[in-house]
């Protein structure tokens, strides 16, 4: 980079961000710079240091935390293949291999793996400079390679490559109901905060993110907390591997979600809200911004909403940048404040000490969608289906070995057998619930049901066919958590780093009794002592397998004793192949 180029970047960065410089927007500035220059150039960092009064190390530590930000060098086409297990089952490795071969020697392109990109119903998929491409086939890969090799700007690529399908396979009462902008909001204004909370309480709505905390209680706590200001955050960092139902809601029911946030704002007197949109869903940014703008023009956002003096609320969208941990609500708030997404000490909880230390409601996309449904149709309408502790219905994202992947809405209490049958997963040996951190349910237990009482999920439902190796799946999950651990606490940082190598020993049939004991110990330590839910739930599928499917481990053991197993012939096989040495 010449001194003139550096000066230009420095000035350009200063000009664009100096106006209303705000260090809580650091991550947003970095996302913008990455997009503009294909990396974060040093002069841009210097400009940010100057306008935000941050140290170089502080800015670089944020860049280093997020997978989609790079400070090394400009790469014109950064390609990330989604490495979710469903993408792998759909043949992502062969697609990646094909593109790597086609682009051999091309200095404009970089190829790597990323965590689940949320297109599991249309995998294998990839991100190129943050834009999603699904349904990869050899011919689409060849098209992509040709576009890159001839240097076509990404903006000029055929739109057909970027088409994303949002398939609803089964609707129940919530998806079947159309969104009538303002209907629920008008009702909410009529009711007022106390009766809104009462309605939500009667509806039995529990958070759809996974933990299932009662929404009315969360909102009440936020409302009661003394504060100068309160915030509403929509957690659209849908990162649980295998889930994509929030993608559908944000694409087709955005009005409901935004209206749910507006109702929350009315209830707790919040004036600002955020949608924290995962970087993988960048393609939803412009449509969502258009939705927000339309609602401002309709008087449904902004000052004096629907003519109500004092009802002022607006929403901004923050983009994530490739960090699964930011789905954890306190890490999400750190990220919203422009920092590394490290979870906070709890208590205090975000509901009293959240964004900028103020009371903050963080709700999942689907929860906010349901709020709008409830205010439109009433608590009774919502709660009359479902089970005792899990009222109504919820959305699940079905992918993997089934004929009809997509989004399904089911009343709580439905059996896994029913779901597997409906989606055409007749050959399933098991179902992975709630993503990589969730539980593995073997076919013999398909009478268990979807509910907070029995099997909860954040939305992910991956069908595992009989032909699949559970050990291979565990290795994939171990890769995921090694990639996504934030590194803050000892057990998660180190445990997740150690597990892939240990599992590899089983995959190579070189493991011993000692390795098996270490697997169990590490899983137990992570489960018991991790700082947040990511670390404590990371070994769930491993623990399930150790308990339910011990045979997949014994099959990978060369010796059940503690003595290290060493097979000289096997250990030198690769060397002998390469060097064409017949015998050893």
């Amino acid at each position: 980079m010449s001194p003139e180029q550096a000066q230009t970047i420095f000035e350009d960065t200063r000009q664009r961000f100096a106006g209303a410089a705000d260090d809580t927007r650091l991550l947003q500035y970095l996302v913008d710079i990455q997009h503009r220059y294909h990396f974060i150039p040093p002069p841009a960092i210097e400009a940010l240091q100057q306008i935000l009064h941050l140290t170089r190390a502080q800015i670089e530590s944020v860049i280093d935390f997020y997978s989609f930000l790079h400070s090394d060098q400009a790469i014109r086409y950064r390609i990330l293949f989604s490495n979710n297990i469903t993408d792998r089952w759909a043949g992502s490795a062969a697609m990646m291999q094909r593109l790597t071969v086609a682009l051999h020697g091309c200095e404009d392109a970089g190829i790597a793996l990323t965590a689940c990109s949320g297109l599991c119903d249309q995998g294998p998929s990839m991100l190129i400079n943050g834009r999603a491409i699904g349904r990869l086939t050899p011919s689409r890969i060849d098209d992509i390679a040709a576009l890159i090799l001839s240097g076509v700007e990404l903006e000029d690529w055929p739109e057909s490559l970027f088409m994303i399908d949002n398939v609803i396979q089964r609707s129940d009462r919530q998806l079947a109901l159309s969104c009538q902008p303002a209907a629920a909001l008008r009702r909410a204004i009529e009711l007022g905060p106390d009766l809104i909370l009462q309605t939500l309480n009667e509806s039995g709505l529990r958070g759809r993110g996974g933990a299932g905390f009662a929404t009315a209680t969360k909102w009440s706590l936020c409302r009661q907390a003394s504060a100068d200001q309160r915030f509403i955050v929509c957690n659209a960092d849908e990162g649980e591997p295998g889930t994509f139902k929030d993608r559908l809601l944000l694409a087709q029911y955005a009005d409901s979600v935004i209206e749910g946030m507006t109702i929350a704002a009315l209830t707790v007197s919040a004036r600002r809200g955020f949608i924290y949109l995962r970087g993988e869903y960048r393609f939803l940014l412009e449509p969502l911004q258009a939705d927000l703008q339309r609602r401002r023009e309709q008087g449904l956002l902004g000052s004096a909403i629907l003519g109500q003096a004092g009802f002022d609320f607006d929403i901004e969208i923050h983009l994530g940048a490739g960090a699964y941990i930011c789905g954890e609500e306190s890490a999400l708030i750190e990220s919203l404040e422009g920092k590394r997404g490290i979870p906070r000490i709890r208590p205090p909880f975000p509901v009293t000490h959240g964004y900028l230390g103020q009371p903050t409601i963080v709700n999942n996309v689907e929860t906010l969608f349901s709020v709008e449904r409830i205010l439109q149709k009433g608590a009774k309408w919502f709660s009359e289906i479902g089970t005792e502790q899990s009222r109504s219905s919820r959305l699940i994202s079905i992918s993997g070995d089934c004929e009809e992947p997509g989004v399904y809405e089911y009343p709580f209490g439905v059996s896994l057998r029913q779901i597997v049958q409906d989606c055409g997963g007749s050959d399933a040996q098991a179902v992975q619930m709630a993503g990589a951190a969730g539980t593995t349910v073997l076919a013999r237990d398909f009478d268990r049901c979807l509910s907070f009482e029995d099997l909860a999920t954040g939305g992910s439902f991956m069908v595992i066919g009989k032909q699949r190796s559970l050990l291979d799946m565990l290795q994939n999950f171990a890769w995921f958590f090694r990639h996504e651990s934030c590194g803050f606490c000892t057990p998660c940082r180190i445990g997740n780093h150690l597990l892939p190598e240990l599992l590899q020993r089983f995959a190579e049939a070189q493991a011993t009794g000692h390795d098996l004991r270490q697997l169990k110990d590490i899983a137990e330590t992570m489960h018991r002592s991790s700082f947040c839910g990511l670390g404590s739930s990371a070994p769930t599928a491993l623990s399930d397998a150790l308990e339910q499917s011990p045979e997949i481990f014994t099959a990978g053991m060369a010796s059940s004793s503690d003595n290290p197993a060493f097979d000289l012939s096997a250990a030198t096989r690769e060397y002998r192949t390469i060097t064409e040495t017949e015998s050893w």
């Binding site: 530590s61 057990p491 270490q518």
Partner: protein
């Protein structure tokens, strides 16, 4: 004054104290590494895991409350601590016999207290550049346990922000805020609190290697639970 119990022993506490703070004020030792009384709780090392009314939690982040029954030195908690400490030992290059900090190292002395005799997990042997740029200090980053005490000390006591953690996951590492990342070109001064607060052996003063003879080092005569933290 309200109280709770640790291993059946009553502990009085002030409102707002954590279990670890109350225990330290009462002279009851709960093994820990990333907590230092001068700074806010961090919660990263997980060594202070205790059982509170049956639930396992870190004593440094759990608020004290009247009537809680806290288990501290039971066998299974000490075993859990050994598993956590082992992870720290294999993550970095903790070669006690040749380390200048030996005998004055929290990690070593907490491990001794918890009766960790050897690490059974695979050693990772990280490779990180030593920073010997400063005339009076050398930094060995391969020993860092990411407690951020130096980060906080530099920011809150020294008023400088010389240190930050960067990276993610296992790649998390300590970096220095200087144009070239070297200590000598940062605002660091030898008298900084950041240099003396490290619980392991990242910060080593030059010109005085192995000055304290074996037998007179910090933890040679008293084990860690008998020494008040400075």
């Amino acid at each position: 004054m309200a109280s709770f119990s640790i291993d059946q022993q009553p502990i009085e506490f002030e409102p707002g104290q954590t279990i670890l703070q109350a225990a330290m004020a009462a002279g009851v030792y709960i093994p820990h590494l990333c907590f230092h009384p001068q700074f806010s709780a961090h919660g990263s090392c997980r060594v202070c895991m205790v059982r509170i009314d049956g639930r396992t939690a870190s004593a440094c982040t759990a608020p004290a409350a009247a009537g809680l029954e806290v288990e501290n030195l039971s066998d299974d908690l000490q075993a859990l601590r050994r598993d956590i400490l082992q992870m720290l030992f294999v993550e970095g290059n903790h070669l006690c016999p040749s380390c200048e900090q030996s005998g004055a190292c929290h990690l070593q002395s907490v491990a001794e207290f918890c009766e960790l005799l050897m690490a059974d997990l695979p050693f990772q042997y990280p490779r990180r550049m030593v920073d010997a740029s400063h005339p009076d200090w050398v930094l060995d980053f391969t020993r860092c346990i990411h407690c951020e005490l130096c980060v906080k000390a530099s920011r809150e006591v020294d008023g400088k922000s010389v240190f930050s953690l960067t990276g993610r996951g296992f790649d998390t590492r300590l970096v220095i805020n200087a144009p070239d990342g070297l200590l000598v070109n940062s605002e660091f001064a030898s008298t900084d609190r950041a240099a003396s607060v490290c619980p392991v052996g990242v910060f080593l003063p030059k010109h005085q290697g192995f000055k304290t003879p074996i037998g007179q080092r910090k933890y040679d005569r008293h084990s860690i639970e008998q020494i008040t933290e400075e």
